[in-house]
């Protein structure tokens, strides 16, 4: 907390913003809004890591957003997300900006990790099966080394 420059480096961490866009946007408008959000993030010094185009999806429940004193109910929305590296203090400002956007129904800012967090297809059976097999192989490799000694011991016993 003594050196400002040091703080700027150490405070930088990975954030993710998930957002829902109003379904009233047409398909052509979505890429523009998506570009604006990315621009907004980089204007606050955000370093892009990953993102996904907003895509139409049904919502699990109805959401209400008041725009210009009108209550709008939505049961579907465009869901998209961006992952970026940003200074901790600036995220608060980013939040305030996103709050004002009438095209965003809701958004969620989260701390996350740089790695891709969406799990690939499941390999449960494969990974579980492989472990015992390798263990067996090691045992097989270990036995031949002792073979000569064992033979000698057997010979000695016979003799």
């Amino acid at each position: 907390m003594e050196n400002n420059e040091e703080n700027a480096v150490s405070n930088s961490r990975v954030y993710e913003v998930g957002y829902l866009l109003v379904p009233t946007l047409s398909e052509e408008e979505v890429p523009a809004v998506y570009g604006n959000i990315k621009e907004l993030v980089s204007s606050f010094g955000g370093e892009m890591i990953a993102d996904e185009m907003p895509r139409m999806m049904p919502l699990a429940y109805k959401m209400v957003k008041v725009v210009a004193n009108v209550r709008n109910k939505f049961d579907s929305a465009y869901f998209g997300w961006v992952k970026f590296n940003m200074d901790g203090g600036k995220v608060v400002d980013l939040k305030k900006k996103l709050d004002l956007d009438p095209k965003i129904i809701r958004f969620l800012v989260l701390k996350t990790v740089k790695e891709n967090t969406i799990a690939a297809k499941r390999f449960v059976r494969g990974s579980v099966d492989k472990k015992p097999r390798t263990a067996k192989n090691e045992n097989e490799e270990a036995t031949p080394i002792n073979k000569e000694e064992i033979d000698k011991e057997i010979d000695a016993l016979i003799a």
């Binding site: 959401m63 809701r106 969620l108």
Partner: protein
Amino acid sequence: MKQDYFSANNIKYIDYKDVEILKKFLNPNGKIMNHKKTGVTSKNQRALASAIKHARFLGLLPFVIK
């Protein structure tokens, strides 16, 4: 589910966007299942609960299934 699903599948970070995985841990009413039922470690159960709650906030998962 006796074993921890997340360590078995090598999932280090439980993502709220991974709805297909999170759905496995909801009961028919949409409630989060008990750790005794899920078999998930305490640490992962806590992460799982917050991931489900984040997904609910963004409408990816329901709060209740009627």
